[in-house]
């Protein structure tokens, strides 16, 4: 054993002056260096050697037990060592130090944390407990106790993912229980599902529980063995009805829109798929080939070698801990939605990822997705774990890393193996494309993909390229919101890799009408790339035939033309110029009014009834021109004209003109217009409805506007502003112990704002439905005048359908979060909750207020 206590590896992370109990810790050092791209270095491969080690003679160093145990456990299954041997080693060292109370407690904290943060490692942590049971049964007893406490807390709080992961640990200990073990609890959970579903047929928490049950069974069977097949089958019979059921909101989370047969992939709910896959497994004797296995007698064999005389004894078994399922069930802080299974690569000929009938698809996906979402605070580590995916599953589950796609079939022969890079990319895209919303900000997934490309460029990049081509091909059917997410990711991704993309393969599509989703994507991608860079640079990254798509006027560093400079063609040119110089010189309101009046007079003479329209145009365009240098400039110009703008906003027609003027001035750089509109909304110079009415009333045309991605961006931003606010108000209502007076106030605000949001959604839905059905005036007009071909009209109508789908979904999602029924239900739960200590309540409030962001308070 002596050699185990000595550490002379380059992993050495000793640190002078650190107390001997904690040791050096796990690479706390973070390098920050402005000049170097340090992120490209291979990080996360264990602690780096300290600089002061160099040149000094190595001394043998006894690593204290706790840091050693921590290090071994955190790195389990990550090296070339056999994980089983690592588990035994950890169990033995832990056994030797088990009497150290502080060590014991701290080490179990590490277990809990590892289970929650690194789902890949759960079976291996459980293996430590399995072998630990033989070393010292107290290890297993105490582990169950400690992890049981945390699991119960998660259950009480409705932290479903954590509960699922902690429960998986118990499932992996199935052979240690005296009775049916984890199946007893799964049975109780199912009873709860029945209660929930009979109380409310559209219940979604029950769906989440069924998912947990189904994802726990495989781990329990692999560890527990054939004697539990019976229970599993019984449970599967029960879950079948729930898993096969569809709740109404599921109809809105489909990834593709349109004809069922043409979709790249039909809709599968995660639990529906799991149910089918497990039933399949049940028929084939629960092979569950991808899950890692441990030999029950591995420890015995090592003992026999050294102490021949001792007789092997059967490991001790224990009672399964009792869990208390709260009633009513706490649905948790985050809104729960059913989940769709999304895959870009599934069920294709080459079979690089498991078929959707193969349970491996769900099991591996689930663990990858949880790893991604639980460790969002360190994308560098996540990327490393994802690239190391093959370490954490049964040997032989994956083909050799980096096996090329075109050689894949030859490489695996007749074995059933998967391409780990494809599974990783598939899983990240499933999160980027999660509807109704991803767990973390979308940009996390952007930077995670970037990181994966840096860690293993040769292996990941080709998979990513195929993913891009697959999504691009599916654009005409892809949900519009997902199409926008793809666009935003794609342009951001390229900006991290010198804007390199093989545009030549899409050159044929340049011939397409701008109304075609693929052409619209290319146009939008170029705009987004320019926003992150500049026109000339982007042009230099494109093949020659695409150069004309970025007009040279965008190269010049100067501001867009001020139309009032053109005296011959622009009415009110003199007044426009005067306004500009007056704004520049900070003229008084009275002076400006004189110019405005002059426009009004001329407009009246020209027979214009709404004279505020031309004057607003001149005023707002002058603001844009004066503020063209940067967003700060335009901000201070708006500030300068604020009073007049607010006055203008009293007239709805003139108010809409504000949007029109901004967009018109920035027509070549719509990104700037979108930002300015956002600022104007914050000033309440514009109302959300103004923006939406301008889009669908003034800008829509025959519906061509729906193909412009910046229009979608502008409408989505506007809607998000409204819904975020409503969610904040709703969560303010859900504070415990509010005085009645405040409750009344919050409820009045919520009622009013909820109605406003509904009105906004209804306007969008009606307008887009008109296009979808081909009944919108603009569309009919241009169609009958022959300005639009039949084909073009059909393209526009398809855009209408895709817009409509998105906003129907958004509206219903909001109903399920801030609608009367949803809020009432939450208020009831709040009342049923026992009074909790201050700190916890605060945590809940914050989680609700940040609106779908991860709850940070645990970490």
């Amino acid at each position: 054993m002596a050699d185990l206590d000595v550490k002379e590896e380059p992993r050495d992370d000793r640190r002078a002056g650190v107390d001997s109990y904690r040791g050096g810790g796990y690479n706390n050092k973070r390098r920050r260096d402005d000049d170097n791209d340090h992120y490209s270095r291979d990080r996360g491969r264990g602690p780096q050697r300290r600089r002061h080690d160099e040149g000094l003679p190595r001394r043998r160093y006894e690593e204290p037990p706790f840091p050693k145990l921590r290090r071994l456990l955190l790195n389990i299954a990550s090296s070339t060592k056999l994980p089983q041997d690592e588990a035994i080693e950890i169990a033995k060292i832990f056994g030797e130090n088990f009497d150290d109370e502080r060590l014991r407690s701290d080490f179990f904290d590490v277990w809990v944390q590892l289970i929650i943060e690194q789902p890949f490692k759960i079976p291996f942590v459980a293996a430590v407990a399995l072998y630990g049971n033989e070393v010292k049964p107290e290890i297993a007893i105490e582990a169950m106790k400690r992890i049981g406490v945390r699991a119960q807390e998660a259950l009480n709080a409705g932290e479903w993912k954590e509960f699922k992961l902690l429960l998986r640990f118990f499932a992996c200990l199935q052979p240690l229980y005296q009775d049916e073990g984890v199946f007893t609890l799964l049975g109780q959970l199912f009873d709860t599902v029945v209660d929930l579903q009979s109380a409310n047929e559209n219940d979604v928490v029950g769906i989440e529980l069924v998912k947990i049950i189904l994802l726990t069974i495989p781990y329990a069977i692999v560890s527990g063995g054939t004697r539990f097949h019976e229970q599993a089958q019984q449970l599967l019979k029960n879950t079948g009805i729930v898993a096969g059921n569809m709740v109404p909101i599921e109809g809105l989370i489909h990834s593709y829109v349109g004809d069922e047969e043409q979709k790249p992939m039909g809709y599968h709910s995660v639990i529906g798929l799991l149910q089918a896959q497990l039933s399949n497994e049940a028929e084939n004797g629960f092979e569950l080939a991808c899950l890692p296995r441990f030999e029950a007698d591995a420890l015995q064999r090592t003992v026999e070698k050294t102490e021949d005389d001792s007789l092997p004894t059967a490991p001790e078994t224990h009672a399964f801990p009792t869990f208390n399922i709260p009633s009513p069930v706490n649905p948790g802080a985050r809104p729960v939605f059913p989940e769709a299974y999304f895959s870009l690569f599934a069920d294709q000929e080459t079979g690089t990822v498991p078929k959707t009938t193969d349970v491996a698809s769900s099991l591996i996906r689930d663990a990858i997705v949880d790893t991604i979402n639980q460790l969002d605070f360190n994308r560098e580590i996540v990327a490393k774990y994802l690239v190391d995916l093959d370490c954490y599953w049964h040997l032989g589950t994956f083909a050799k890393r980096g096996t090329a796609f075109d050689k894949f079939r030859d490489a695996i022969g007749d074995k059933l193996q998967y391409k780990s890079e494809d599974m990783v990319i598939d899983a990240i895209f499933s999160q980027l494309f999660k509807l109704p919303s991803a767990e973390h900000k979308l940009v996390y997934h952007h930077s995670l993909i970037t990181q994966c490309c840096k860690v293993a460029p040769a292996a990941i990049a080709p998979s990513l390229g195929r993913a891009i081509r697959t999504v691009y091909k599916s654009l005409p059917m892809l949900d519009l919101e997902l199409g926008y997410r793809f666009l935003d990711w794609f342009s951001h991704h390229l900006s991290n890799f010198e804007f390199r993309w093989r545009w030549t393969e899409w050159l044929d599509n340049l011939e397409l009408s701008n109304l075609h989703p693929q052409k619209a994507f290319i146009l939008a991608a170029l705009d987004k790339e320019i926003r992150l860079s500049f026109a000339k640079r982007i042009r230099s990254t494109l093949p020659e035939p695409m150069h004309a798509m970025i007009p040279e006027r965008l190269d010049a560093d100067n501001s867009p033309d001020f139309k009032y400079d053109n005296k011959a063609e622009t009415p009110y040119a003199a007044e426009g110029q005067t306004l500009l110089s007056q704004l520049r010189k900070k003229a008084t309101a009275e002076e400006i009014q004189v110019t405005i009046d002059s426009i009004h007079e001329k407009a009246l003479e020209a027979g214009i009834t709404e004279v505020l329209v031309p004057s607003t145009d001149a005023f707002v365009t002058a603001i844009c021109r004066l503020g063209a240098k940067s967003l700060s400039h335009v901000l201070s110009c708006i500030e300068r004209g604020k009073d007049r703008l607010l006055e203008i906003s009293q007239n709805e027609t003139a108010r809409r003109q504000i949007v029109a003027s901004v967009v018109n001035y920035w027509k070549d750089q719509p990104g700037v217009a979108v930002r300015i509109i956002d600022i104007l909304l914050n000033y309440t110079i514009l109302a959300p409805m103004t923006v939406v009415q301008w889009v669908f009333g003034s800008h829509m045309g025959a519906g061509e506007a729906l193909t412009e991605s910046w229009v979608f961006e502008m409408v989505s931003n506007t809607v998000a502003k409204v819904t975020n606010r409503n969610r904040q108000i709703a969560s303010a209502r859900l504070q415990k112990g509010l005085p009645q007076e405040q409750i009344d106030m919050v409820e009045a605000t919520l009622t009013k704002d909820r109605d406003n949001a509904r009105e906004l959604f209804k306007y969008i839905e009606d307008s887009t439905r008109g296009v979808e059905e081909g009944s919108a005036d603009g569309l009919i007009e241009k169609q009958s005048s022959g300005e639009l071909t039949e084909e073009e009209a059909m393209l526009i109508r398809a855009w209408g359908k895709r817009w409509h789908t998105v906003f129907i979904r958004k509206a219903q999602v909001e109903e399920s979060v801030v609608g009367e029924e949803a809020v009432e239900a939450r208020i009831k739960l709040l009342a049923a909750e026992p009074d909790v200590p201050e700190a916890m309540e605060e945590g809940n409030g914050v989680a609700a207020a940040t609106n779908g962001e991860a709850q940070m308070s645990e970490f």
């Binding site: 002056g17 796990y26 690479n27 706390n28 050092k29 973070r30 390098r31 920050r32 402005d34 000049d35 791209d37 992120y39 996360g44 955190l74 904290d109 590490v110 809990v112 944390q113 590892l114 943060e117 690194q118 460790l375 969002d376 605070f377 360190n378 994308r379 560098e380 580590i381 973390h440 900000k441 979308l442 940009v443 996390y444 952007h446 930077s447 970037t450 935003d488 951001h492 900006s495 991290n496 010198e498 926003r531 992150l532 860079s533 940067s630 967003l631 700060s632 990104g671 700037v672 930002r675 956002d678 940040t850 962001e853 940070m856 645990e858 970490f859």
Partner: protein, 171 residues
């Protein structure tokens, strides 16, 4: 109760600059006055921080570009460009202020260390912008780091200013 330590490092902690300073101070204190009450930690000031310092920008990167990237982490409340003290031109850093602390943390996690305008940028939690901090503190008006750089960085004014002057004089 102390926060439970994560199994991996967090990218949303303040930089080693702030933590190293804190650690130095603690060690110092332990040696000198082992019984003294700990003074408020500098990290406490950052615990609700909504502002980020953003470094290693190109001088040519515009507000719009910064907005485009940083608004992926949440709505931006204020953006202050770092300026050369004398020229009043961008000198390669800025402050981004969000409405929420969470957005600032997310920015640390998801945007720090990625590229903007083809340069790897760095983000650091900041206690908040104060008037005057937008100016470079280097001798020639820009950031100190641009005074003594001996490799050529076209995005940040070529060679370090101190060397550039020497070079000019030598001619």
């Amino acid at each position: 109760m102390p926060a439970i330590r994560s199994t991996v490092d967090r990218l949303d902690k303040p930089s080693s600059y702030a933590t190293a300073k804190k650690r130095r101070r603690e060690r110092h204190r332990e040696n000198d006055e082992p019984n003294r009450e700990p003074s408020p930690e500098p990290e406490d000031k950052l615990k609700d921080a909504t502002t980020l310092y953003v470094g290693n920008l190109s001088f040519y990167t515009t507000e719009e570009q910064i907005h485009e990237l940083f608004s992926k982490c949440g709505e931006i409340k204020r953006l202050v460009m770092g300026l050369d003290r004398f020229q009043k031109t961008p000198c390669g850093f800025c402050f981004v202020e969000y409405y929420t602390h969470q957005d600032a943390l997310d920015c640390m996690k998801y945007i720090g260390g990625t590229k903007l305008d083809e340069r790897v940028i760095r983000t650091d939690l900041d206690e908040g912008f104060a008037e005057g901090r937008q100016y470079g503190r280097g001798k020639s008006g820009g950031q100190v780091r641009d005074e003594y750089r001996d490799e050529f960085d076209p995005g940040r004014g070529g060679y370090g200013k101190a060397y550039a002057e020497e070079y000019e004089q030598g001619r």
